[in-house]
């Protein structure tokens, strides 16, 4: 069985959930081989988690430089492995960096690339959700080793024992003319909340929330549900909540199990970022708000009454 290369998304060996989703999808196509590119020691830390999720092999590509340069060391390592291991496909997380790795890799090795797939079958057919979920597209790569980036949260990660046999590979020397050096990082401190793109519950606030202080109501409901907080563009533009939490056409696309919209009218731009959510609940005082057209359960009412009551009720039921 051919190997399927999975680029491990990690921070200093701390493996992100999306990697397990990639390994799960990779098993449908062949034998998953995890590729760890990072600072020395990353793979040793990541190995157990990768083995638990079915990695038959772990390619270890470590160097001090690999951690300090953007994108290209990963492309260099994957390109070398595409040459030597002749994989059935290369899977990468559809994150900001992952999409670039996938795109650059495809150009480098002369393959086609499919971005932001929401599913992948055993024949290599990727499902994509385009125009904010208005269309479902099935596509495949027809040239070279398929390179596919998979949307975080789209495939459910399943555990499966893998040998995780380590194979050391060299990080190719960096061409200084192409290198982008990271001089300093300020990681997002999102507190204990899950990342917006990975959360199974998202609670978002819109213009109706009225102020930055009032977003505490949104946060409290998110916390009792163990979810992430999102915001509509109107709320972000009004300065109620930081831009990185914006859900919609010009923000993030989310597809959680449960999406709760508080004081969001549901403009087409916002719907494009959340309408593929499994279940949608909306609270809005305007009975004509378009959000109700797509909500599975809508309450016409004052979010300042309804949301705290819901938070309290969930708290009670949880005991």
């Amino acid at each position: 069985m051919s190997e399927v290369l999975v680029l491990v998304d990690h921070v200093d060996g701390e493996v992100k959930k999306v990697t397990f989703e990639l390994l799960t999808a990779a098993r449908r196509l062949g034998e998953p081989a995890a590729v760890v590119v990072g600072a020395p020691g990353s793979a040793a830390k990541a190995k157990d988690a990768l083995a638990r999720h079915g990695a038959a092999a772990v390619y270890v590509a470590e160097s001090d430089e690999a951690a300090d340069l953007l994108v290209t060391p990963k492309v260099d390592v994957l390109a070398a492995l595409v040459g030597s291991a002749a994989p059935a496909a290369v899977l990468v997380a559809a994150t900001a960096e992952g999409k670039e790795v996938a795109g650059r890799l495809a150009v480098r090795v002369g393959s086609g690339v499919l971005a932001d797939a929401v599913d992948l079958d055993g024949e290599g057919v990727a499902t994509q959700s385009v125009f904010g979920g208005a269309y479902t597209v099935k596509a495949r790569v027809t040239t070279g080793v398929p390179v596919i980036s998979l949307r975080p949260g789209a495939v459910e990660a399943e555990e499966s024992a893998g040998a995780a046999a380590e194979k050391t590979v060299e990080v190719p020397a960096v061409d200084p003319a192409r290198a982008v050096r990271v001089t300093r990082r300020e990681p997002v401190t999102g507190g204990d909340r899950p990342e917006l793109a990975e959360a199974s519950v998202v609670v978002s606030g819109g213009r109706g929330v009225g102020s930055a202080d009032n977003f505490a109501i949104v946060e409290k409901l998110a916390d009792v549900l163990g979810g992430a907080v999102g915001a509509s563009r109107a709320a972000v533009d009004s300065g109620y909540y930081p831009h990185q939490f914006q859900v919609g056409q010009t923000g993030k696309t989310v597809a959680p199990q449960l999406y709760v919209a508080l004081g969001i009218s549901g403009a087409i731009q916002h719907r494009a970022g959340m309408q593929t959510s499994k279940t949608i609940v909306a609270v809005n005082k305007d009975p004509e708000a378009p959000i109700f057209e797509i909500a599975d359960f809508g309450v016409v009412g004052d979010l300042f009454q309804v949301a705290p009551q819901l938070t309290e009720e969930i708290g009670k039921r949880k005991g």
Binding site: L70, T95, R104, A106, V130, G132, V137, F297, Q305, Q309
Partner: protein, 260 residues
Amino acid sequence: MNIVVLVKQVPDTNSERRLTDSDHTLDRASADVVLDEINERAVEEALRLQEAHGGEVTVVTMGPDSATDALRKALSMGADKAVHLSDAALHGSDAVQTARALAKVIGTVEGVDLVLAGNEATDGRMGALPAMVAEVLGLPALTHARKVEIDGTTVRVERETDEGVAFVEASLPAVVSVGEKINEPRYPSFKGIMAAKKKPVATLGLADAGIDAAEVGLANATTTVLEVAPKPPRSGGQKIEDAGDGGVRIAEFLVAQKLI
């Protein structure tokens, strides 16, 4: 400091966007087309860098005849000239082909120090085209910039993504893609709109740009669309008026759905 700005005409996100039944490509007739908002920010950043460092700003696009409107908008903001790659053979080109074609067009502009682009278009949302163009050109890509600084032959960028902010640097020439927070684009002035009409727009066909027709277009694409299905419109479910127990009713719904 000569800057090329890559721009793209996209279907307005406020209009209904469709794919054609015949070959699954964008139905350009059905939607209003506009200069993608993020591109205006890229043009704005180019103009600001030009004000500080001199040089020329060239806007480049690939697309059908109507894409000229996107170029005119950029010229009316203040860009100096435009290059439009337009050829029927480009129809249906995929991301890899597009990156290669754009790289060829950038090659027709002399002495380019910096290529600027938006980080992600609102239609394809590939989010990788600037990096792919950089790969073809053999240049560094500093993407998702919220701040760009040029210092001699070094470009420094504050890169903002979901993971946080990274301070990155590379040598020129380079490709930089800008994010939403980079700036507020200027509105074209009346004078700018009038001046734009006289600015040079070079229209190139494949041969003019040195592109082999066998490398582009739907028939030579590196990916293929097997099927396309419009999502059945989501229908609204239950809607109730809050009678003082709205929160409790939602909780009951969530329990029934096994969500809590």
